[in-house]
Every structure is written in structure tokens, then in C-alpha cells.
Symmetry: D2
């Protein structure tokens, strides 16, 4: 921590800052530069809270030299975390492809889709039983019934299930059926949910909030990790910007940056990232080329009848094409898909 | 709803769209313009889902002519909603000022602050017992103990209590103590929480998500209203933009826009909106001048010791000054504060 | 400047950084904290370029402790700069109101508007003769003819003229007619134009770029100031965000922040900031309450016939109302308008 | 064009709108839906200005059904535009790689870099002689001298030159040396410059503004195209968002979207898009996988001595690695590099 004093700070201001730091058991190192006094915090003790110091008289700013997450960082765990998943895994050489409809709409719809995506090469099945919808008047999902239909699809295809949990009170029920609990973008900073997800010890797919920074995503993961649940995969699903032609802006930068900062596997969601099915395959290729460990893609047998996200859903035939293209890109970065 | 067909759409594409619309009981009105066929949806029946139609072959775009919220709109309820609150109220001529610390830190801290803000003219007390924090290692609030201290402060000062509820499972406990349940920016699209807040029939202070549009804020309010709970106040607390000098960007536009679109009272939070105490008073003035019905402001007896948000907290003396300035602005728009 | 070394940096890496700093004539101060070596740069010499040091082996980050602008800062010039303008002035107690049409469309239109806004209390006339338009097929302005019509309006009303200059090659011609040269948002980082505007020694109205930070706006002003032209007024005109209901997002925070960081006068443009005429008066009030020294407002005798920006133009009657409301707010902050 | 009337619009309001439309030679088609009157504009005549109609009494909104650019669109020119460039070309199967330093710093630096990037497989040389810099106190480029050094590097290596022109007054001089005139992000809406670039008939590399939409980029291209200069390549170089870890956010979506909307070649600039050299190769791979026709990459022999952009510059050895990886991705999408 480095405290930068204002040019006009008094000796008394400076003494108060020094006293605050030494009271915390740290030592100070005082220098002058560019007309300002800089008070460096030295030693191994935990320094005082940066925000508190920042409001002391005469303080211009407080700079922090360390990252705020620890368990999520590569410094803490240099090797890639690999998460096993019903015979498949994520974080290793093979790219995990999770595919399925936005919403589970019927027993037949989810089973039909599961069979199709399995055949095309997907390794896991997505589908929502509890749906976060902007409008209270939109379809909200089939709830437990939807989970049961997904379980049936798993029994038939062997594909592990990825599904969203929106509330602490539902974790137990959803965990009974799901192989991976998805925490959606709108809940990335629902700290009660993150806490409970950590305690569940279930694999977690944590989506980046639509206006969350990379650091905030890692801090959200830290909530889960701090409960000893290390099976967390992060998901870049597009962020909100001024661009309106696409649903979100796919932040391709986030993929190599996350791979450098953290040991956790990184998944990309090209469907939400671009929001129009005709561009999904290009973004899937782009994500794998950037270094993603997995993809989560919306597929629906009949997008024009989908109860949600039809605009961004691939048909099974489009998905077959996507898989072929993704496999070629994977090979070009020495991986498989 | 207006369906714009691509210039290259076939007669078959067009027939399929028409069939879809008439199957929903609506009628169509077909015209040609600028090289495109436009299919207008006519009649009083609910048209087919716009997103589904948008993926049909030959469709270029689907335009919607109506707003997606109803109970929140001025069309539905032309008069201002006034919410009574322990002798005070919000939504009428007098501007409701809610003040207090970010976190309830101790019995003495909250009582001392409550007495000070009451004296300066605040009409309600804010304070967090359950705190959403970016880091799992930061102070998370005193929980029920904090609520009890707030209740004691209310008993002493008469100020009604505004406090955040972060999870469905805590609504019952928080509602036992609080006069107003605050739903924080990070939970604006926690639909399970909105649903439960609606069912609680408690007054709700709903903060705008940091990257939520005005329309999404109104849709979140619609979740609460759709359960018959009409006591909802909306809060503009700054949005996330590229600007880094301030914590958020105060969207002053949102205030007159919300006042035009909805009958619900509109509160501004200058503390979070700008994030540095020295600018809070200017933003409070700005908000009232723009038409806000209320302010929610962070006040702490000793900001340099605050466990959270010290950087943006006014001291009681600063708050006295703020109230004086706000009262003058209020008078200039024919209101009181 | 403070150089933070990576935990894994070698002694050789550290020596190279130290050598680079001492080669520039500065001294270093080395301390250890939180597992990292910190190299503080000490002394009065100009330190080496921060970006260059940031790519040296073993360097994690380089922190800067000083602001990059100097002539624009309050430290450099503590008192408010007041710019005289044909009998009026900006930067003093009285709020300067600049009003007029987006485009000068005809001799009669500009004269009629000038008379109307003068009568309502405006102190300067705006109007565009050279128009930046998103489409090459839109009306681009009447050029020199428009300037002549503005000059005629000035002769009749006495109002000084504010008009945009879009290109270095036009500065001479525009400066022949205009009292204030406006540099538009799209040209805020047209450095050739800023350079020439500095050399012109003409008063400058510098609009903030639609995605420029406050610091970048001050750096743009620094370009003009560095040529000895100190008559620069800054203009907050709304920034681009994800919100689509309004044309831009009025960054009210920028007003008190600019007033604290710089001595230059600050103008607000409520017309562009919100983009719909029905909200312009509320934003004008908000800007003055936040501390703006001036307003620039679009007024057109018949907005439904305006060749540009009709959607955000006040009629003369609306402008009369706005002035009355603005005067009341101005009085509430001990100013006049 | 479709005019949506407010529910409260009067018959008189409606008549006025109809009169305005018919006065323009268009016909109207009036229907009722969801409580609103919709006035469709029919026929082949140019409809009245949408913004003007939007301010007429009783009008809620005006929807447009056509895109505002024409020459830039695929509808206008369905085949890919291929631009020849000194024996190379862009827009065909082979990906054009443009490489070189941010600034031309000396004769030796540009020649050394040109030889190195040529050897590694680059097909064009970039380098700035006139530099847009945020600070007036930063290095501004060597001007004509820099252009001469670039010409010498071209003579030695045969690589065509891409260099920025920042002002209308410099086009003639820069065009004397350059094979491609680059228009920088900060000048994307410098309409005087776009106009002159169109008239120059020189190949243009048009960078997307840091907060410009895809549509605005196409409208800027339209300025150039409208002068008959069809040799325009578009460049995605990252947009400004709330994320601060990276310099910009690479909008990977823009690449397939632009390829669908326009026939013009699309270049990606991974250096500016991510801003830190260690991630540039991943973003280059990502861009090619998404469908980019070209790359423009910053390479400097000694980034720690670069006068600008050292933080994001590859060394020649890094560039060799990048080219190898890009070639593999190119092959995976059936292209070469």
C-alpha cells in the first residue's frame, strides 16, 4: 500500500496517517517525489483499510499493490484446475462443449435435443428449469418437472446436466438433479447464493455479470472457493456496452486474461455473447482460438417455436456444422473438441 | 407489432409469417415500402411472441409498438403514487431524506448517527445489517444484531428504518424490523427476491442495477407490482460507465424520464452515484433540481473509521450543510425538504 | 512514480529497473511489502517514461502519483478563470446562457431565434454553419453564408456568436465571424484542430467527447492552453452508455468534479445530454444546481421543421419557461442567470 | 417508416401527420393495434425526415425500416471487395498482415523492423509519422522525415506502407508517400477528413471509433465511398467499456457482423484491442478465427525503448511466433496468412 499525500498536506496530517499505519503493526517508508510526500507501507502485517486511510485529512490517494483475490489466482495454484464431469472433464486438453435449449419446454423437446447434441459431439447438456426473465409475464420455466425431464435425458444419453439455480432456497432441489450448478449473469454478485454454492460442494459454472469486471468475476469465484469448493468454471458470456446491433459484446480479451490470472477453467457462451444465431459459430471459433476450455451453446430443434432465446439458438444441423468448425480450430491450437 | 420482411423474402416466407399471426387470432395488414414488405399486426388479440417471429425465414426484424410494463406505467395509473411512512411519506410535495451509515457497526454508532441526522432534518434512517461485499474477506454486517440496534435507534428518534435484504430466506426476519426493504443494485434482477418482495406487501426501495436500463428497472418494479404490492420506490444510484474518476456515473436524465414514464416515487442516491464525499452535496442538489422525490445519503460520525463506504460518507456536519442547500433547491422547484 | 516488481522478479530485473531510473537522474527508494519489491522514484528530475518501464522484465505495474495536465489544473491556477464575452462573461457569478438552433437554416430563422432568445434572457447565440452529420446524405450546413446570417443576427441583437469549427482549414474563416469557436464532441481528440485552436487565441468552447474521460477532456484543454490561449470553456454534453432511452447520459458528476480539478469555466449542454426536448428543462436545472457556469441550449422556432436536432429543440416559449426555472435554481445557489 | 401515435393523440394530430407524409409524395396506410394508431408510409417516394415527424403533436415514436448506408452494404455490392496493394491484396483468401512500430522513431528503427516483419511473413508495414497523443507534451512524431524513412524501408523490403493522416491539410503530403492512408479511431467522425479521404482516391484503412457503433463505422465508410473511392478497409481495434484491466475491449462480434453487412474487407488490430503484448497473439488468433481479412500489429525491436505503445508491442521474435499460430488458424478456416 502506498499513500500519496496532497501537496498541501500538513505535518499533522502526515503524522496521523503514519500513526494509523504503525498502529496496525506495519512500518512506514517516507519519500518525497514530484512535490508530494509518499508514505509506503512496509512489513508483513496486514495494513489498515485503504478506504479508511483515503478519507484522512491531507490524503490524495491510496494505491494498492496486491490483487484482492487469492485462492482464485495462479500465484496460489499455478497448475490448471481440471474438473471431472461424468467421464468428461473441463480444464484439460479437450474442450468441453455444453449444448441444449435455453429452457426445458417438454420431455420430448429436451430428450430430442440431448440425443442430437450428443450425436454431434457435445459432452454435456444445458437446459433451464428455473428461468430468470426480464418480464414477470414471460415463461418462468417448468421447475422441478423440468429437472426431472433433464434427468431422463441424461439417463438416455449419458450427458451430465448443467442447469441454473437462481435462489439459495432451491440449491438443494437443483443439486439433487444437476451435475453442474449454473449461477447466472444477473446473480454473479448475489453473495448469499455464492456462499451457498460454495457450501454445496457441487461443481459450479459461474457466469460473468453483464457489467462485471474481470476482477469482480474472480472475486465472485473467491466466494465459492473460500468455502473449500474448488470445482468452479468461469464463463465469459458477453458484456453490456453501447453497441446495440448485437445482444452483448463478446469480450474475447477476457479469455486469455483469465487464463493468465487464474487456474480455473474458462468457458465461453457464444449464444448470449452475440445473440443472433447466424453469428454464433464464428464466435465459438473465436473463443476456442483465444484459449477457451469450454463452450456453452444454445440448441433448439425448432427455434421459431422456442419459449425463450429462439433468436440465438442453433438448430441441431447448425450445431453439427459448428462442431466441425470448432474441431478444426481446436486442432490448430493443439487441442481436441 | 410490425414485421419487416427482407428484400429477398419469398412469397412462402411471407405466407408462413401471416399464418403464424392469424393463428394467434390477430389480423394482418400488408404494405410495401422502400423495397420491403411490411406486415402489420392488427386487432385486439395478443400477437405471437416477437422473438419467435424474428427467427422465421425471410424476416428482417420485428418492431414492437408497446412498452413491456403495464402496472408501473403512467398510462395505467396517471397520478403520483404516494407511500406513507411512519408519519412521513414519499411521492408528495415533501422530499424524503433517508440518511445513515452504510453499515450498522455498533449500537452506539447507529444511535449517534440517527440522532444527528434526525436533528439535521432527515425523515428516515438507513443502515445495513446484511452487506453485499465484493470480497468474501470484507465485513459482511452484524445480521440480526444490526437490525435490533436499528430498531433501538428508531425507538429513540422515531425515524423509520430502510435496510437491505439480500436473500429470500431473510425477508421474514428483515421485515420484522424494517419499515422499508431495500433491494440492492446487484439484486435488481434477482427475480426470486423480487417475487418474494412483492408477496411481502412491505414498502420496497428498489435500486437500479449498475448496468440496467430504465426499462429494465421498470420491469423489475413490475415483478413487485404484479403481486399487488404497490408501495415501490425506485432509486437511481449511478450506473457503470467508462469513467473511472467517480465510482459510478449519476444518470440525472433517469430522474425526469422515470417521473414521466411511471407513477412510482423516484429516489436518488448521491453517495453511490459519485462515490467521493466532497461531491455528494452537489449531486444531491442536482437530483432534487431534476425532480427527485427523495434522497438516500450515507452519513457516518467518523468516516475514517467506517467499516465500509467511508470514502463517500458525509459527517453529520457535512450533512447539516447538505440539508440547507437541498432545502433551497427544493424551494426553487416549489417543494420542501 | 512507483514501480511494483513481480513476486518472481530476479535481482537482475531489479537492477535493470534501478539503472533505468538513475540514468534519468532520479534516485530510488527500495522497500519490501506484501511479498513484492517496490521501487520508489525520488528526487526532482523527470522520471523515465512509465510505459517503457512497465515492459521491462520483472515489472508488474508502474503507478503514477501526479496528474498529467498542468496548465488546466487548479494547482497551477487556483482562481476561477473568467472569460469576457462582448459585455457578458463566463466563469463568474452570472450563468451564461447560450441558445439558438442546431443549424443555421436561413437568414430569417436565425434572426427570429436570436431575437426570441435574447428577449428570454440568453446572453449568447449558438448556431451551426458547418455541421458534423453521421450521414453524408444529411444537410451539412450553409457554410460561409450561415456565418454571415449569424453575424447579421449579432448586429441586430448584440448577442455574441458561438459556432462550430470542424477543420483546421476553416479556423480562419470561422474566426472572422465567431466570438467563440466551438470544438465538437467528435473532434475533442482532433489534435491538429486543438493545436490550431490554441494558436488562434480565440475563445474556445471545448465539448467533451462522447466517450472521453474527465481526464482526457482536461488533456484536450491542455493542448489549447499550451499555446497560451487561456480562454477555454469546457462542456459536458452527455456521454455514451448502454442506456438507449435517452440520446446520451448526462454525467452530472462531471460538473462538480471539473470545478474542483480545473479553474476553467464549465458549461452544460442539456439538449444533447438528454436528446428529447421534454426533459431539457429538468436537465438544465440539474446542471445549474450541480454548479455549471453556463448552459448551451438548442432553440428552434418550429422544431418540426428543423433540418437537424428537432427532437431535442425547445420552442421559444419553452425556452422562456426554462429560463424562469433556471433563474430560480441559480438564486438557490447564490448566482444569477 | 412507421409512425406510432400516442394513445391520447387527437384526430387533428393524426391529420397533421398524414398531411406531412402525403406532402412528400408518399401514401399512408392506417391501422389500429394495441390501443394505438399506426401510420405506415407507403410508396416509392422519399418519406419526410423521421426526426421532424417525431416532434409533431401526438406522435409517440417513428420507426425506420431501412439501413442508413447504401454503398457500404452487401445489398448494394454482394461480392467481397478485394483491394490490391503492391502485389498483395486484402479481401481475398489470403489474410493481409500489416506490422510495424507505433511510431517511426529513426531511420534505423523502421528499416530494422521492416526487414524483420517481412521475414516473418508480414505483407505491409505500419508506422506513424504524425501521432495522435493524449498529451501535448508527448512525442508527436517525426512528420515528413518519418514518411521518408518509411519510404526507404519500402524500397528495401518491398512492403507497402500504411500510415495515419490526422488532418485534411496533410493528406496531400502523406499520400505522396503512403500506399494506404489510415484514419485513426479518434478521427472516425472527422467528417472533413473523411470527405478529403474520399476525394483522394487513395486506399483507406478506417479505424472504428472507440465508442462508435458498427452502424456508425459503416456510415463513416459511406462518406468515403460516396466520393467514388471504393478502396476502404474497416478496422476493429477495440471499443471503450467499463473494463479497465485491458486497454480496450476487443469486439469480436463486430467481425462476423461486418462481414455480413458489408462487402468491404475487415481488419483487426489486436495490439490496441487488448493493449498488453502478452495477450496480442491470442487476440490475433481469435480475430482470424472470427473471419478477419487482415491484421494490423505493433512490432518494435526494443519495446522497452519505444517512444509510444511499448506496452502492447511484440518483439520481432514474438511476431514470428504469432505468425506461426495465425497461419494455423487461417488454415483451419480454409485461408492462408
Amino acid at each position: 500500500m502506498l499513500v500519496v499525500m496532497k501537496p498541501a498536506a500538513s505535518a499533522k496530517d502526515q503524522s496521523a496517517v503514519v500513526a494509523r499505519i504503525t498502529a496496525a503493526g506495519c512500518e512506514v517508508n517516507i519519500t518525497e517525489h514530484e512535490g508530494r510526500t509518499l508514505i509506503g507501507v512496509v512489513g508483513e502485517e496486514v495494513p489498515p483499510d485503504a478506504e479508511q486511510v483515503s478519507v484522512m485529512d491531507g490524503v490524495e490517494q491510496v494505491m494498492s499493490v496486491s490483487v484482492p483475490y487469492s485462492r482464485a489466482s495462479r500465484d496460489y495454484h499455478p497448475d490448471d484446475t481440471v474438473i471431472p464431469l461424468n467421464g468428461s472433464s473441463i480444464g484439460g486438453n479437450k474442450i468441453l462443449v455444453i449444448a441444449g435449449p435455453c429452457s426445458v419446454e417438454s420431455r420430448d423437446q429436451i430428450v430430442e435435443t440431448a440425443i442430437a447434441v450428443k450425436e454431434a459431439g457435445a459432452s454435456a447438456l444445458r437446459g433451464g428449469a428455473f428461468k430468470p426473465r426480464t418480464s414477470p409475464y414471460s415463461f418462468q420455466g417448468h421447475g422441478r418437472q423440468g429437472l426431472e425431464w433433464m434427468a431422463e435425458a441424461r439417463e438416455i444419453t449419458g450427458l451430465p446436466i448443467v442447469t441454473e439455480v437462481m435462489d439459495v432456497g432451491l440449491i438443494e432441489m437443483v443439486a439433487e438433479y444437476a451435475d453442474v450448478l449454473q449461477i447466472g449473469a444477473r446473480n454473479m454478485q448475489n453473495f448469499a447464493l455464492l456462499h451457498a454454492a460454495g457450501e454445496s460442494q457441487h461443481p459450479i459454472l459461474l457466469k460473468r455479470g453483464m457489467s462485471s469486471t474481470i476482477e469482480e468475476l474472480l472475486m465472485a469465484a473467491e466466494y465459492v472457493l473460500s468455502h473449500g469448493n474448488t470445482r468452479v468454471m468461469l464463463c465469459e458470456r458477453g458484456i453490456r456496452t453501447f453497441e446495440t446491433f448485437t445482444r452483448n459484446t463478446f469480450d474475447a480479451n477476457a479469455i486469455p486474461v483469465l487464463k493468465a490470472l487464474t487456474h480455473l477453467p474458462v468457458v465461453a457462451d457464444p449464444s448470449h455473447a452475440v445473440g443472433k444465431w447466424e453469428y454464433v459459430t464464428a464466435i465459438a471459433r473465436s473463443a476456442v482460438a483465444a484459449g477457451a476450455d469450454g463452450l456453452i451453446v444454445e440448441v433448439h430443434p425448432r427455434p421459431a417455436e422456442a419459449l425463450s432465446d429462439g433468436r440465438q439458438s442453433l438448430t441441431p444441423q447448425h450445431f453439427v456444422d459448428m462442431m466441425e468448425q470448432v474441431r478444426r480450430i481446436a486442432a490448430a491450437v493443439d487441442r481436441t473438441a
